[in-house]
Every structure is written in C-alpha cells, then in structure tokens.
C-alpha cells in the first residue's frame, strides 16, 4: 500500500509542481508573486475542454492553441495590470494586491463565459496500467512526464540562453538591468507570457482527471503556492522537490492517519521546512551573480 500511496503523492505533486513553476518563472524575473497564476490554469482547462469537446479540434492542435491563448492572455494581463506598477518600482505589496484583483477579474470572466458547471475532458486513457503492484493511468503518466519536461525546458531556458539571463538580471535589479541594455518591456511580457502558458498547460493536463470547472484554480492555489515556497521560490528544480513534498505529505497523512489531517500535515511540513530553511529546500539568495 505504501508504494501506491507514494506514487499517488508523486502524481499529485507533479501537478502542484507544474503550477508552482509558473509562480517561480514570474518570481525569477520580477521578484513578485502573481496570484492570478492559477486562473491561467483554469482558463487552460476550460478552453481545452471547449476546443476538444465542442469544437472537435484534434488533441495536439487543441493543446497548442490553448497554450498559445494562455500566453497571449498572460502578456495582455502583464500589459494591463502590472507594467506600470513594475516600471514605477511599486511596492511589492501593491503588486500582490494587483495580482489578487486580476485573479478575481479573470475568475469572474471565466464564470460568466463558461457558467458554473464542470466539464468532462477526454483523457489519454483512464484504465490503469499495472507496473508490478503499482497502478498508473496513461493520463497520469503523461502528467508526470510533461511536468518533468516543462521544468527541464524552463531551467535550460533561464540558464543557457541570453533571454533567460536577461530575465534573471531583471529580477535581480530591474533598473540596473534596464541600464545595462536589457529590453525591460519585452522581458516582462516574456516572463508573464511564459508563466501563463505553463499555467494553461497545467490546466490542460489535469482537466481529464479532475474535470474542468471555473473554481479549479482556486482549489489548487494554496497547494501550488506551498510547493513554490517549499522548493525555494527562486529555484526551478526546487518546484519539483516542493511539489513532491506537499503531494507526498498529504497522501501519506490521508492514507495512514485520516483524510481530515491531509492539509494539516502538508502545511505543518511547510512550516517545519521554513523554520529550518527559511529560503525553502533548494532556495538560495535571489540576488545571485548574473
């Protein structure tokens, strides 16, 4: 039983990690927390469901289209909600409040556009594959694989490309980065677009097993937030560690204690880790050399 519980923890943890990755991308470029992140995830799930089921669009096309719309919405939101605040070096708390406001606006628009009902999304397969004593469905395997790939791709992008360097430089000091010739406005658009695209991808992946509904983003917000913090906000591989810790903690607690303790244990772990390592498990200082 323990092995299956652990595997379930890994699957759920991957979802948390993928959503947390979106948080971290924005954090790495502008050192702010974007609470609207999980609404891109909702948007991804809803749009994908509509394209696939109502529009009859093929799976891959629907996936690419949805991510593209997610990116576009992310760029638009950055332009409308954050750019002026960011360029004016606004207080971090103002940015956070702006992102909460944006989250409420996006959620309301999604609710108005799609209504309150949940939607079913066809999956890559719901019949479990048996690996020794363990069960995993093709869709779940797809989630884990896509998360690992997305995290690796983002890590490579940030650390191996000039644009990634520009992103990190911007996080370190927006004004100096601008003076050093980093095109600030494109970097901002890029990081918000990328994080929104990742959010939408998360929604696409989980919609087949968790149903697509306007409230799905709200439901995952705190868990993904915890995963991002646990991993150390500035660390890309950290989100995997953070996601896994949260996913495993709640599954082990749910299975061996009671599901009433699921969240208690997950967040107690968060408090303990932060007490021991205030910067998160893999978190270093944000002002690293770029």
């Amino acid at each position: 039983m323990l092995a299956q519980v652990a595997l379930n923890g890994v699957i759920v943890g991957s979802i948390y990690a993928l959503v947390a990755l979106g948080f971290v991308v924005v954090y790495r470029s502008v050192a702010m927390f974007n609470f609207a992140q999980t609404e891109y995830y909702t948007l991804g799930g809803m749009l994908f469901a509509t394209l696939l089921v109502v529009g009859g669009v093929p799976f891959l096309v629907a996936l690419v289209l949805t991510v593209a719309v997610g990116v576009a919405v992310g760029v638009l939101c950055e332009r409308l909600a954050f750019r002026r605040l960011l360029l004016a070096q606004a207080q971090p708390v103002n940015l956070i409040i702006a992102s909460i406001a944006l989250a409420i606006v996006l959620r309301s628009i999604i609710l108005l556009a799609w209504g309150p009902d949940a939607r079913r999304v066809p999956s890559l397969g719901d019949d479990p594959i048996r690996l020794a004593e363990l069960l995993i469905t093709p869709q779940q395997a797809f989630i884990v694989a896509a998360t690992v790939l997305a995290v690796a791709a983002v890590a490579l992008f940030l650390h191996r490309t000039r644009l990634g360097l520009a992103l990190r430089a911007t996080a370190s000091n927006r004004m100096v980065a601008g003076l050093m010739g980093v095109p600030l406005t494109s970097v901002l658009a890029l990081s918000f677009g990328l994080s929104a695209g990742l959010g939408a991808l998360g929604g696409i992946l989980v919609a087949p097993i968790l149903l697509a509904q306007f409230s799905m983003g709200q439901a995952i917000l705190v868990k993904a937030f915890a995963a991002a913090i646990l991993g150390g906000l500035a660390s890309i591989p950290g989100v995997i560690v953070g996601g896994l810790v949260v996913g495993l903690a709640e599954n082990v607690a749910g299975a061996y204690l009671s599901s009433a303790y699921k969240d208690v244990v997950a967040f107690a772990v968060l408090l303990l880790v932060l007490a021991a390592r205030p910067a998160g498990i893999l978190g270093g200082r944000v002002d690293d050399k770029v």
Binding site: M1, Q4, V5, N8, I11, V12, S108, L111, G115, P116, D117, A118, R119, R120, D126, D127, P128, R130, L135, T137, Q140, V206, I209, L210, L211, Q213, F214, S215, M216, Q218, A219, I220, E250, N251, V252, A253, G254, A255, S258, S259, A260, K262, D263
Partner: protein, 373 residues
C-alpha cells in the same frame, strides 16, 4: 451637497415619486428573493434553481402576475459561506416578501433561524440536511428530499438487496455531507454493521487517492458517497484509475442527473442512487424541460424543477394570503397547506414543512438511470 441642497433634493424627489407610488399602488411588484451560491462550489445547483424560478416568474407575469402585481426576483449570492448566509438573511426581511433558499445545507442552516425568527416565509430547494425541517422552524418549507429518508433507503438497498456487509462511507465535510454520514452511520449501526472506512473530503478537493487507497485496502464491497455530483464523479473516476471498478457506488438524489452521466462516462456505470425526481411523463415537467433547454442551453435537472415549483408555490400562497409584509404568517400557513400539480409531481408539505414524495432506488445502466425498486 449642503444640508439645504439635500432638503430641496428630497422635496423634489418626494414630489416626483408620490404620484408614481399613488398611481401604481395596486401594481407594486411582489419581490421574491432567491438566495444561493452563485460563485462557489454549489453554484451549479443554486443557479439551476434560480433559472427554474425565472421561468416560473415569466409564466406568472405573462398571465397578469399575482392579482395584477408582477412578480420580481432578486438574487442574493451567499458564496456557499454560512456567515454570508446570516448577513443576507438579516437584510432579506426589508428587501423581499418571501425567499427561495437555493443554498447548500451549510448556508441554509445558518440563514434558517434568522429568517424564521424574523417571520419570513422561505422555501428551500437544494439543501438536504435533515435539520432544515427538523428544527421546529415555522416559516420553512423544503421542496427537496431530506437525507433522513434518502440515506436510509440507500443503506436498506445495499444491505438487503445487495446483501453487502462491508460498506464504506465517503462524505464531503459540508453540513450536507456530514448530515448524510451521520444518518448512514446510524442506519448501519441499527443493522449491527460498522463501515470499514469513514473518510471526508473538502468540497474544493480534487484528489481522492488517499481515501480510495484506504477503501481498497479494507476490501469494501460498496461505498456510499455523500457529496456534490462533481465530487462523486471525481471519486468514482479515481477509484477506477486505482483498480476499484468492482466496488458498487451508492449516492443521493443529486447524482440522478444527466450531468453525472455526462461527466462520469463509463466509470459511473452501475451507480445506485435514490430517485424521487422529475418524471418526464408529468406534462408540466416536459413543458418546463423544453422551455429550459431552449432558454438556458442546458439539460433540466431536479433543482431546476424545484426552483420552478417553489416560485409557483410561493405565488399561489401570496395570491391567497396577501402581498404585504404583515401577511407573512398567513403566507407561511398557506404554503404548508399547498396542494399543487408541479413539475416534480403533486407538491404537498408535512407538519414540519417537508415535501412529501416517494423515493425510488435507481441504477445507472447504459447511460440512463432506471428504477430498480
């Protein structure tokens, strides 16, 4: 604006409004509040009842309203928050004549005592917790089943027809789920049975693997799932993913809906649930179903029918008892005395305000619920 300006303004307003109110005295609208969750996890249910009530409103107004007064609906969003339920309940008395409470059990149970003390007649259409009609409130009427009867029937079927002894209970931790759990525990205890697993989940939860792993480890033959359709669908699908496709699923009347079938697909086949619901052979139900699908592009479910019937029941009572807030006590008694042919069949209430209806047991077979008992 200065005080003097304000006075002038009020005078002008009074002069403008006076003749209006005088001339339209007889046609002042009868305002009915519809309270429910329109932005949270219960939004699909509350919205369905609201939409049903809107259709009823248009029907009533199309034939001249209540003694010439048009019916008007005012919408109140409790966001499925019991605290918000109390806040709204305190406002409602001043703003509406009577209320349709399309909220889930938690806000209904918090708003109920406030409405009852204030003497505002209310009809509930979504909440299933037994306490709604077992708390001695005089102004309540429930146009929905009570879980007292539903859970008992489900447990009876599982133990007597299926002859299962190992029946797990999964419930959502709202007043709805907890109420259902408590009745199920008692019903099983009366048969000297102890459920191998009793586990809860929050309405916003999406991952149920730890609960399911436990059910699997105990070798349960059946599992009673007491929660929203969305929660139940997620659980049953995840049970299948974890290789539990042989365990029989039991649920409440909320599951008997096209939505459960559409969302759950083949994973939910074989589900057993209580059914007291809309009989398509009832002409009123068929008519409502057609109107509803055309207007809201959604399949009618029982909550639509109950919202629709609730407004008609209220309108009938107001027609008999009067339209002034001072008539509220008479309106409440008129509702209890209701005999009305609605979309859910004949509507009557017992001495506690509980709608009396026959409960069937249905099984999901090939994408359709069929009555098995």
């Amino acid at each position: 604006m200065s005080i003097r300006g304000l006075r002038w303004g009020m005078l002008v307003a009074a002069v403008l409004v006076l003749p209006l109110t005088a001339s339209s005295q007889a046609k002042r609208p009868v305002v009915i509040g519809v309270m429910g969750d329109f932005s949270g996890p219960v939004a699909p249910y509350s919205t369905a009842s609201l939409q049903g009530a809107m259709i009823a409103m248009d029907e009533i107004n199309a034939v001249g309203g209540i003694k010439g007064s048009p019916v008007q609906i005012k919408q109140y969003d409790d966001r499925n928050d019991p605290v918000e339920g109390v806040t709204l309940a305190k406002r409602l008395g001043d703003e509406v004549l009577a209320v349709i409470v399309a909220s889930a059990s938690s806000p209904t149970l918090s708003a109920g005592p406030v409405l009852d003390r204030a003497g505002i007649p209310f009809v509930t259409t979504v909440a299933a917790n037994p306490a709604v009609t077992e708390s001695g409130w005089k102004f309540v009427n429930r146009l929905h089943l009570s879980d007292r009867d539903q859970v008992e029937r489900v447990v009876q079927y599982a133990t007597e027809n299926d002859r299962f002894t190992k029946i797990a209970i999964l419930y959502d931790t709202s007043d709805y789920g907890v109420g259902g759990r408590d009745i199920a525990l008692k019903a099983l205890a009366r048969r000297s049975l102890t459920p191998p697993v009793v586990e809860g989940w929050k309405q916003t939860d999406a991952d149920f693997s730890s609960q399911i792993v436990k059910v699997k480890a105990t070798g349960a033959e059946g599992v009673i799932i007491w929660g929203t359709v969305e929660g139940a669908v997620r659980i049953v699908q995840q049970m299948r993913s974890l290789g539990l496709d042989k365990v029989r699923v039991y649920g409440g009347g909320g599951l008997v809906s096209q939505k459960y079938v559409d969302l759950g697909g083949k994973a939910v086949e074989g589900t057993i649930a209580t059914w007291a619901y809309v009989d398509p052979a009832v002409p009123r139900a068929k008519d409502l179903g057609d109107k509803y699908e055309q207007r809201f592009k959604r399949k009618m479910d029982v909550f639509v029918a109950q919202g629709y019937d609730a407004l008609h029941v209220l309108a009938q009572a107001v027609d008999k008892a009067g339209q002034s807030p001072s008539d509220r006590l008479k309106i409440a008694s008129a509702i209890r005395a209701t005999r009305y042919q609605g979309a859910v069949g004949e509507v009557t209430f017992d001495d506690n305000g509980q709608n009396v209806r026959k409960i069937y047991i249905a099984r999901l077979d090939g994408g359709k619920f069929v009555v098995v008992k």
